[in-house]
Amino acid sequence: MPRRTVYEAKVEFVQILDEDGGFDEKLGKDLISDEQVVALYEHMVTCRELDEIAFKLQRSGRMGTFPQNKGQEAAAIGTAHALIKGTDWLVPCYRENAALFMHGLPMHYILLHWMGDERGNEIPPGVNITPLCIPIGTHMLHAAGIAYASKLRNEGRVVATFFGDGATSEGDFHEAMNFASVFQAPIVFLCQNNQWAISVPRESQTASETFAQKAIAYGMPGTQVDGNDLFGVYKVVKEAVDRARDGGGPSLIEAVTYRLGDHTTADDARRYRDQAELDAWLAKDPLIRLRKYLETNDLWDDQMQTELDEKAKVIVREVVKTAEGIESPATEDLFNYTFANLPDGIITQRDTLRTASIGQNPAQIGLRTQRQNA
């Protein structure tokens, strides 16, 4: 056999709740209890409210650049639901706020972050989340390291890391996938393929037919899922998490979704994408779909929606108040977190707010002797 097949692979696509409200009983039955679905829906709506208000805060000059999460809530929430809060880790990018809140990040932290305040990253003890990551594609290596630490110490923790379609182009994505698979770290790589990386469409980002198939390069399972389908996402992530926790190593999941907003508030997507495309995806909004599901199953009505909308507004108003109510950071915060033990040079800079030396008290640089006859 001079030309023989030495390797074969395939990639599956999973969908449980389709955009018309169709539900696959075989895969979806008893997957998430009715109560839980309602709670997840409520969370989704609240997160959407925060997202819209954050947008307005930026527009009215009360916040810096903000990347809306709108449209990607099912991927975030489905994933977060499959992980154990306080045990497992979430290593996010910036479009999965809903997952972070579920795992204990106070909502106003996200606003603080985008208000230019590091205290938005001061993750509270017991909350296993790393801060939003600005340099694209770099944090998955941290996730792999955290996962491997769990394995080394037999802690049973699993890590889920979120990143976009664009992030898969970075070398660090490759290195993270490779390290995770070589070391069989307990981690789930959750690619939110929202079809765009700012203005660059998926087809210009990669020549591969799916992102899921990139797993094959690492001998890792890869699955594609409808990212706007809470059930589908939960299902495939849960399988991957269970496998990881059982020592089965990492997985890559491509959640096919869409960025319903601009890239950030600094962006204007009309420059580069068609309204028709956007419209088609607006119809697939995970909120609409999940509400349809709830209504079909008599778990929801207009009255509940009205109450929820009101409740969400109240919650978010409070969150904004908290974020805006925090006193300005002190100038000396500039200095105090550079090292655990500040070197003399930084102490001098902090205490004098100067860089070079004239006018600084010579005592501050701690001279042991002083020649007199200068």
Binding site: A266, D267, L334, L353, R354, A356
Partner: protein, 324 residues
């Protein structure tokens, strides 16, 4: 002659050079239909086509290494890195390859690329969108590094950079992108890399600066007592830099304050201070002062103006240097 912003003058220079030399290609993230996140390449893809204004995948090492290949094959690539913080992933290709091929091959293979990079703080941007890494690249042999502060200088320096047979890091101070307009000639012209500009003449003290800090220095100068005569030098080129202009000035004034946004320690101000001392030792009436970013991580934007060398800090350094 038109009244242009920095963004516009760079756009103009790119368009004119592309028109004149079809080996020039632009490549980077979102530089095509979107015109770059700062719109610096606005309209260029439409005008020159997808083959010459290329949207790349999201990968800075890729952008830089691919550009090195294009350059060795005879093209003149002008990669854009979206923000200076994302030079990090491109660092290895830039300093270990782009900068070294001429030396490595005794000139057989060369890398005439110009990498454009928005730089510096002051615009309320997120983390890693406000740093000033010029000293890093100035320290690596084989790279030229420039940072124009005005629309006029930007056009002339960019044209020089593009025509330069070696790699040039072209830093664009984003705080200045749209902050003011200036008359910029329509015709092409060059400004020599390595030449500083004496912005205002003076006899008592020399201020050396570059990038957006130029405007903080001007503000500080405005607030100084009338009787202090300051010579203000905009370095424009970081490597090679115009030691001669500085030395000449400091031999005249005897005092110098250097101002930059990057952290103090091992910042480029240290090189300038050292060279002044080496060449003007007997002329100096006070130690050279450095007003710079602190030796701490560039903060998120709530504190950025406390970090950056703003006018009051510059003013007091000048006054104390005068009083020495």
């Amino acid at each position: 002659m038109a009244n242009l912003t920095l963004v516009q003058s760079i756009n103009l220079a790119l368009a004119q050079e592309m028109e004149a030399d079809d080996s020039i290609v632009l490549l980077g993230e979102d530089i095509g239909i979107n015109g770059g996140v700062f719109r610096v390449t606005d309209g260029l893809q439409k005008r020159f086509g997808n083959d010459r204004v290329i949207d790349t995948p999201l990968a800075e090492s890729g952008i830089m290494g691919f550009s090195v290949g294009l350059a060795m094959a005879g093209m003149k690539p002008i990669p854009e890195i979206q923000f200076e913080g994302f030079l990090g992933p491109a660092y290895d290709q830039l300093v270990n390859h782009a900068a070294r091929f001429r030396t490595r091959t005794r000139g057989a293979l060369t890398v005439p690329l110009t990498v454009r990079v928005p730089v510096g703080g002051g615009i309320h941007a997120p983390e890693l969108h406000s740093d000033s890494p010029e000293a890093i690249y100035a320290h690596h042999p084989g790279l030229k590094v420039v940072m124009p502060a005005t629309p006029y200088d930007a056009k002339g320096l960019l044209i020089s950079a593009i025509r330069d047979p070696d790699p040039v890091v072209f830093f664009e101070p984003k705080r200045v992108y749209r902050s003011f307009r200036e008359e910029v000639p329509e015709d092409e012209y060059t400004i020599e890399i390595g030449k500083a500009k004496v912005v205002s003449e003076g006899t008592d003290l020399t201020v050396v600066t570059w990038g957006a800090s130029l405007f903080q220095c001007l503000e500080a100068l405005d607030e100084l007592p009338e009787d202090i005569s300051v010579e203000l030098i905009d370095l424009r080129s970081i490597y090679p830099f115009d030691a001669e202009a500085i030395i000449e000035s400091v031999r005249k004034t005897g005092r110098c304050v250097v101002v930059h946004e990057a952290p103090l320690t091992a910042g480029f101000g240290a090189e300038i201070s050292s060279q002044i001392q080496e060449h003007c030792f007997l002329y100096l009436e006070a130690p050279v002062q450095r007003v710079a970013g602190f030796d701490t991580v560039m903060p998120y934007y709530k504190l950025e103006l406390d970090y950056l060398p703003e006018a009051p800090r510059i003013k007091s350094a000048i006054e104390e240097c005068m009083a020495y």
